[in-house]
Amino acid sequence: MIVCVAVVGHQNNPLYIQSFTKADDSLKLHHIVHCSLDVVDERVNNPKKSGLIINETFLGLLNPTENYKVYGYLTNTKVKFILVTTDLEVRDADARVFFGRFHTAYVNAVSNPFHIPGKKITSRKFAERVSTIVKSFGLSSSS
């Protein structure tokens, strides 16, 4: 189950963060997102060491902790998407499908003339869409 998703600007400024748990652990989840940003920077700045294809948007698994798996994605506009899940058996393919859909929702939201680049995403449609994407996670990676 996805417990948190985040969109983070290129100066590591949060543009959108949403947790999907009943428990009051959003602070902890925000902390996990925050820590993962350093991993993203590390990967992107040292592509050779991390064995990353230098310009792929999908960054893969960032930092597995005991209870969570964290995946990252970096767009052309240096915006990071972070996905935190409690599903430890999650497949990369599912994460890729998730980010593909998430990216589409993101592009739609920032194409809105009322969105100001670099500012928080306040679109209700985006929030609704993200929650649908989160619910569908791992269900149909057959595409």
Partner: protein
Amino acid sequence: MIGVGKAKQYANVLDRPIGKGKQEVSLSAFAFLFSELVQYNQIQVDNIAELERRLEDAGYAVGARVLELLCHREKGNRREIRLLGILSFIHSTVWKVLFGKVADSLEKGTEHEDEYMISEKELLVNRFISIPKDMGAFNCGAFVAGIVRGVLDNAGFPAVVTAHFVPVDGQHRPRTTILIKFAEEVLQREARLG
């Protein structure tokens, strides 16, 4: 497209792509709209430089969104990290989508290492605007310069971008050159990448 607009059928609504960008409107419709943009801004300012700056701002907003749209749609989810890569992306992909053709030329400045030029014999926005004599060197291409700056800036290549008329031998009308001067950090990073 999400939200309003006609919805096509996709097995999974979440996989519906963001418009293919194949829809069109008439050039006249765009020309009328653009001309209103110029006229409205002309009333807001008292000099040409300010008018060009405002048109550039409007273009920047377009460029920033065009980058997001095209990267997702055309680039197969690869990030562009090299200077020449992003320039050729603008010269070909962005130009083709926005103006229906690749730009006439992309050249490196001969005098300065940090300068590049995209030239167009007849830039779309200069095709239907005739500039009154008293407006001197005013160039509607400032709007396109703004688009280019919007794309570059948001892709992590900050630059100063300006539009200029350049006379062409044997031609009545000058061509428009979009001059791109990259920020120092961009060239330093480029040098590091080798």
